[in-house]
Symmetry: C2
Subunit: 397 residues, 2 copies
């Protein structure tokens, strides 16, 4: 407070330029940051409505759906709200949900479904394991499920789930198939139509290289039917997909005020995705990951997830015995200006999580990370057995 | 699609610079837009956590609460999510809620409370009327209410509610007092402690002059106790205030990934608020409104709300007979680059809503609006009886 009772505010923010290699947010291209600073429009301005339409047009191919076959939009909240929107709109109280939990986000799906008053059956696997498809099939045979939920790319463990058997399992269960694509959309194929996915949500701050704040969402025609036939409205007014379509659709009915700058940012991020091309982008994520993995092994580190189910955009690597994992992360941040993530849930303190996502998925980023990590590990007395940079380059030669 | 099957994205967005005088978003200062383009940080970066702490420090005096006496934070979604968060966290299924509805947003409070499975009693008044305090008192006497909800500044009608009798009424009802300050916070005093408010939410895109996307929220110690004593978790995981405190508080536990650029923007917007000073800002909103009101009357227009309960930041003005209200708004936008709002609910097609909010609350903005409106009305054959600019200036001389 000043002498006159006026509150003295802090100085303007001056955030440092980090290399963001944690589980998100990922590095943001300058074009996307610039889009955030464009003049604010009203949420019903014709120019803004056109931006929303263009954004939808760019989401269809990203999700792997034909334009108009179902619905796409971007929810005005972060990825976790995408999960909640999918579940509270597709489940009614007392209905049954089957959830595969092989990490923190699968467990969260189960919790969100419980809060929607569904009866939830969880098919659990260990962290770093793949989802238990046999367990899911066994449960599915019992039938009577309204929703089958699974995480495509488990951000907590770096495990990639195989989507191809899920439609058959969901059909056996009688369920709509809900897929969490938070850490896959834009970094590897999701292909909702090919896999018969009914609801798929993501986030902006992972492989799309946009700052966090929106949840891109796809719904199949079947999911739309389910929503239209609900006995009662969804418990969330804010995330009510029937009401939201009134705004995103041709009615343009006021629901809430859209977060204008976030839409600008995602519009530009999606433009960047399509200018690069999906196949090129997926290949880039894969190459960068191969380089990182080889380099981490050259550093004498153990990858937490076997190659067959390892997720390119996000890698969990075990903390060697005797190393202070938090101190390594702190030094990476403070000395090298690089952010990586720690473990979550049962992996807390036991792994680091390194994301090469969006524009961060390059060989040079992988090399910068490996060099810095080598320095931090050596500083704690870890012996580096081989040259990580040479190994990284050899892996992608 | 290109020949190779690659999707051809639209060109970059190039939104025009509008003068935003609708019900929000309001004009955004250049410093705030610039903050949106600052480098993205991780949501657990020490620099970002400090930004969150500073943001909290700036929210306390804005809400009129002593730092630490309760809780303040900014929810990662728009103002409507603030409403939902307050109600789903403070109400448990089967509890009773008393809601004053004198516009669209009061009615929305009732709907959101119903979706939280509360038994809702609505005390209704006509649009443009004040909330029915006698009706509230009559209901409150019956007791047994968990929540009394009311809108401070009805954005749909431009009516300002008197907060001073509400604590007594809420006490009689046995209720926590929930106040919607979406269109008042930063534009006129809210003073949660003085009025004994237990939960108060707002939005960024009104009198704070920040683009939409976050919901500033205050909770009293009593509200926190209520949340701590819930029998079951809130139905919304995303808006669960107990979990959110784990992230905003000293634990810094991961809940969801905060919308980094939105926090930058609100941080800067709050800085601008406090650099100006609350009293000066409130006075500026009042003066701009007085000018606008006098000018509108000089134009031969009727204000929808009597002076005694008229809200300075947002004015509803009746559409004269024979005027095509949508055509006026369209011409204002296309010819004058000025956005104003149409009516909502029962006022749809019958009023315009003109917001002089945040940095838009100045005499010169009011004059620009009046001149443009005069031109649009004259163009439709309306006779302007007096000089609106002279009237506006005279009102604030």
């Amino acid at each position: 407070m000043s002498a006159t009772g006026q509150f003295l505010p802090p100085p303007p923010l001056d955030p440092p330029e980090r290399l963001l290699l944690g589980p998100g947010p990922s590095p943001v291209p300058r074009e996307v940051l610039a889009a955030f600073a464009r003049p604010t429009l009203g949420h019903l301005d014709p120019h803004f409505l056109r931006a929303m339409d263009e954004l939808r047009a760019m989401l269809w191919p990203l999700f792997g759906a034909r334009a108009g076959n179902g619905r796409v939009l971007a929810l005005s909240a972060t990825g976790s709200a995408g999960m909640e929107a999918a579940l509270v709109n597709l489940l009614e109280p007392g209905q049954r949900a089957l959830v595969a939990a092989h990490g923190v986000f699968g467990a969260r799906m189960a919790e969100v479904a419980r809060r929607a008053r569904a009866e939830v059956t969880v098919v659990q696997s260990e962290f770093t394991e793949a989802p238990d498809m046999e367990g899911l099939e066994r449960e599915a045979k019992k039938g009577g499920y309204a929703v089958l939920g699974i995480v495509h790319a488990e951000t907590s463990t770096g495990v990639l789930a195989d989507l191809s058997p899920l439609r058959t399992i969901a059909d056996r269960a009688g369920a709509l198939l809900v897929v969490d694509a938070v850490t896959s959309l834009g970094g590897l194929p999701v292909e909702v139509e090919r896999h018969g996915i009914d609801a798929c949500y993501s986030a902006t701050q992972k492989c799309l290289s946009c700052p966090p704040g929106l949840a891109p969402l796809y719904l199949s025609p079947r999911a739309l039917d389910r929503i239209a036939q609900r006995a009662a409205p969804a418990q969330s007014w804010y995330l009510d997909l029937a009401l939201l379509e009134g705004y995103w659709g041709t009615d343009r009915a006021y629901h809430h005020t859209a977060p204008i700058q976030m839409i600008y940012g995602l519009h530009e991020a999606l433009r960047q995705v399509h200018l690069e091309g999906l196949d090129a982008r997926f290949a880039r994520h894969r190459v960068a990951a191969l380089a990182l993995w080889a380099g981490l092994e050259a550093l004498g580190l153990e990858l937490a997830v076997p190659l067959a189910r390892r997720l390119p955009p996000l890698t969990a690597v075990r903390v060697p015995a005797g190393i202070d994992e938090a101190a390594v992360r702190r030094r990476l941040l403070e000395t090298h200006n690089i952010e990586i993530g720690g473990g979550l849930g049962s992996l807390k303190g036991r792994v680091w999580r390194i994301g090469l996502m969006g524009t961060g998925a390059t060989l040079s980023t992988a090399e910068r990370c490996l060099s810095a990590l080598a320095e931090c590990l050596t500083q704690q007395g870890h012996t580096v057995p081989a040259d990580p940079i040479a190994a990284a380059r050899a892996a992608v030669r």
